[in-house]
Symmetry: C2
Subunit: 204 residues, 2 copies
């Protein structure tokens, strides 16, 4: 990559990182351009070389956040342990992923309903995409082979909703408390099992 372009990329990342961090206190929408550029170590007008508005920054952050999530599920599909023991393993994967990308998950949780309309819509859209992807994955799990594709999609939806809720909890959990994290995992697992059990009973 040409040096010029690389430096531009670095500044862009700095702006995104600053916005992500600052939005944690007050939400994306009441973030000021000057505040963000100050934190990014750049002059206010430089912002316009990268984004037209703060909203665009928000969309870029949504993109970043879900890239992480997509990578997570792609890796999980290759891991035989996850396929064998879906529920236990996916609770571990979820908590680990949220811990490693705490700020991104907090951003998504906060802006999913609290953000500007275009950001809200983008998050909603990404979540629906994620549900579809998860459904494709679940359809390959032996126990669910006999299920209709509608039912699998509905289970995927419930799992993702559970995931969003647990992510909210992990984000709200202080950093050095593995006991609380275990509790959240335990509840997440129990709930996923109940979803499957309830579904089986419902179908019968």
């Amino acid at each position: 990559m040409p040096l010029r372009q690389a430096q531009k990329e670095r500044t862009r990342e700095a702006i995104l990182a600053a916005a992500l961090q600052l939005s944690h206190d007050a939400g994306l929408s009441q973030l000021s351009l000057r505040q963000v550029t100050r934190a990014a170590g750049v002059v206010p007008t430089a912002f316009y070389r990268h984004f037209d508005s703060m909203e665009e920054v928000g969309l870029a952050l949504v993109e970043q956040s879900f890239m992480t999530l997509r990578r997570m599920i792609r890796d999980a599909q290759r891991d035989p342990e996850v396929v064998d023991n879906l529920i236990d393993a996916s609770a571990d994967v979820l908590v680990a992923a949220v811990k490693q990308n705490r700020e991104h998950f907090a951003f998504v949780a906060r802006e999913r309903l609290g953000g500007p309309a275009p950001v809200r819509d983008a998050i909603q859209h990404e979540l629906e995409l994620f549900i579809s992807e998860l459904a494709v994955f679940l359809a390959r799990v032996p126990e669910l082979q006999s299920w209709s594709s509608d039912d699998v999609t509905m289970v995927a939806g419930l799992f993702v909703r559970n995931m969003v809720y647990r992510a909210e909890q992990v984000v709200a959990t202080p950093d050095g408390r593995p006991d609380l994290e275990e509790e959240i995992k335990r509840k997440a697992r129990r709930e996923m099992r109940m979803i499957v059990l309830g579904f089986e009973k419902w179908r019968s």
Copy 2:
């Protein structure tokens, strides 16, 4: 009530109503004092006769919102139809309540994660209170008599989470679409049934 005090109350209501309405577009936290007082038909400095900050307005709105909710569940407990046919009836009650208090529910959904910390905490607290109240109600339902109080509380938690999620959906639904509302009710009912089924299977 003395005339003076009555007039003060009216202005206070006007400020709250203006804040509720305006926050729908952009969120409570990026609402300006002047904007709100302008919409309330009062001069900016008059604001301070009623509130110290916008945050305090937010807390008052949380209070208002949950008063509605509490009245709703209290009425429902007296209605024999609800007790007999808990799941179907409560889905109806929920959708009706959200429709009648759309702005308050939207406010709670939005500010639950997107609002200022004190408002978020207040909403969280009210939701936990509501779960307890619902658990007391559920404990009196015949089918659940044999359940442990922990299990009943957990079901109440799942019901409330379902409720919050459905409220988000109803709020996002345009007004004149009874078909979409029916769809949401249908899903809410199905999910509550699955929760109970999954729980029964889990306990066995």
